[in-house]
């Protein structure tokens, strides 16, 4: 078995295009990624020594895989459309901001507003996420293996946020329509966010999300669902305090 693994790794190495940010500039990396055209054979990319750089692999719009070896700064994988980006380290603020499709996997922790305004795709954070995770999410699926910070899913509009750990204060504040699944405790719910019943379709949806995020040994029934009470959709003077 080890031999098979080695030979597979060797083939991948040959095929993958390596960008060492100690040698090349970030602009060269992003430009090379933007130059990709449909059907390109350069499907595997590796980024070395990111050293907390901002905007690593933003705006990629081809279905390639990008392995980033180390921690990144702001907006890694922003606007991602179709690529699979794996950060073998932690991610700074705004990882996967405005993602359209594809996947981003962060092996470490993520900073503030992970997956903000994302319209699609899957963002997996294997460590913890910080405050405002999934703020204004518009269709993205986010799975956090650890905890999330305060004001997460603030004004969330669509998509799913799955948290295996705990959530901080004001979860789902002013939420519109996204589904929030939390396995641990929630410090407090924000305005218009309420606990909701887990129906069979939600258990099924959640199982699918856990499978896609590579989560094993965790049952959908261990989660609670939260979502919008829909009382703030239209202005009503009785709700003035909640706005």
């Amino acid at each position: 078995m080890p031999a098979t693994k080695l030979s597979k790794a060797a083939t991948q190495d040959q095929a993958s295009r390596i960008f060492d940010l100690d040698v090349s500039s970030l602009r060269e990396l992003n430009q090379a990624l933007h130059n990709l055209t449909p059907g390109s054979n350069e499907t595997a990319w590796e980024v070395l020594h990111p050293k907390g750089s901002h905007s690593v692999a933003v705006g990629v719009d081809q279905p390639v895989s990008i392995d980033v070896r180390g921690s990144v700064g702001y907006y890694c994988g922003g606007m991602n459309s179709g690529s699979t980006i794996t950060v073998h380290g932690s991610a700074g603020p705004g990882v996967g901001e405005n993602m359209m499709s594809g996947a981003i996997i962060v092996k470490g922790d993520a900073s503030q507003y992970a997956g903000a305004t994302g319209k699609g795709g899957l963002l997996v954070i294997e460590g913890n996420a910080s405050s405002r995770c999934g703020i204004s999410m518009k269709g993205i699926d986010i799975v956090v293996h650890g905890n999330i910070g305060h004001m997460s899913a603030f004004m969330a509009q669509s998509g799913n946020l799955v948290v295996l750990g705990n959530a901080g204060d004001a979860l789902g504040d002013s939420i519109y329509e996204a589904r929030l699944f939390v396995r641990g405790k929630v410090d407090s719910l924000g305005a218009d966010c309420i606990a909701k019943e887990m129906r069979p379709e939600h258990l099924e949806l959640l199982q699918g999300l856990l499978d896609r995020a590579g989560v094993t040994g965790v049952k959908p029934s261990e989660f609670k669902r939260y979502g919008s009470a829909r009382t703030l959709y239209n202005f009503n003077i009785d709700n003035a305090d909640a706005y």
Binding site: G52, S90, G92, D109, Q112, S131, G149, H150
Partner: protein, 298 residues
């Protein structure tokens, strides 16, 4: 924006490299604040001398023979080491207040950056790299230090508007954010007898902490007070003679990342400020929680 760094050494063998490490950290955050930069370094204590860091826009005029005139004025030996627009005046700890008054009487144009047993403060307008080179900060040694690169929002781009702000002996503070109730707090502190050099909101935060500590609070308790008494956005990193503290406001939208190893505790506005520190790959790295005080003391 603005960028903050801080480094508190636990391992004495790193002390000769403090200036170099802190300078690297600061320069890495240049694009968070290109208008001015500053650094406060806590050196080794000496029993028989205390230091005052002074600044002048006309150093050749103001610093010439100042040591001789000060020695005569206070009746004790005084030494002066000039670095560009700054100079460090050394004298007996018991004479420090007298020396301060004498400086202001003899050279009204000199600005006092800070004073204490161990702290030295260097700050100027310009890019961090230029400020680091100007004062040869990479060569400095010490136990801990803080630094700041500023994008001015609340007051003018001047030397005095740069951080760190020091308002008490060996105390100083750097800030990312903006305070909304600084005018009120300043008025209250003025009533208590505190003096202000600028219209800057951060100077108010520094003076607030000095006032709290003058009332007997320790650094941790004083930082706790900022959460109820100061309004606005802030990440503060604070140095005292033997301590290092961090606090973020309850909203915590200003970025912060910390790292701890057996050798040091480090703070940066962004992770990239920490990437050159020794052993960073195996450090415990975390984002400080909102409304939570962190502090370390030697």
């Amino acid at each position: 924006m603005c960028g903050i760094v801080g480094l508190f050494l636990k391992d004495k063998s790193l002390e000769p490299k403090l200036g170099e490490m802190l300078s690297e950290m600061l320069v890495s955050l240049s694009d968070r604040g290109p208008d001015s930069a500053g650094i406060a370094i806590y050196g080794a204590p000496s029993k028989n001398e205390a230091k005052i860091t002074i600044q002048s826009a006309k150093p050749t005029r103001d610093f010439r023979d100042l040591d001789i005139e000060l020695a005569k004025a206070i009746g004790a030996p005084v030494s002066i080491a000039v670095k560009s627009t700054h100079a460090v005046v050394r004298t007996a700890p018991a004479k420090i207040d007298e020396t301060r008054e004498a400086i202001q009487a003899l050279r009204p144009d000199i600005r006092i950056m800070g004073a204490g047993d161990v702290v030295e403060i260097y700050k100027e307008v310009g890019l961090p790299e230029a400020v680091v080179d100007r004062f040869d900060l990479r060569k400095m040694t010490g136990t801990h230090g803080i630094g700041h690169t500023r994008m001015a929002t609340e007051s003018a781009v001047t030397t005095m508007g740069a951080h760190p702000f020091s308002t008490g002996a060996d105390q100083c503070l750097v800030h990312n954010g903006s305070l909304s109730n600084h005018n009120n707090v300043r008025r209250e502190l003025i009533r208590e007898g505190m003096k202000f050099e600028t219209e800057n909101d951060t100077e108010v935060a520094a003076a607030y902490l000095s006032s709290q500590m003058a009332h007997g609070k320790n650094l941790g308790e004083a930082l706790e007070g900022t959460l109820s008494d100061l309004d606005g956005f802030f990440t503060f990193v604070v140095g005292t003679k033997n301590g290092f503290g961090v606090v973020r406001d309850p909203i915590a939208c200003k970025p912060a990342v910390m790292a701890e190893t057996d050798q040091y505790v480090a703070f940066g506005s962004e992770y990239r400020a920490l990437t050159k520190l020794p052993g960073i790959d195996n450090a415990r790295v975390w984002e400080p929680e909102p409304a939570t005080v962190y502090f370390w003391e030697h």
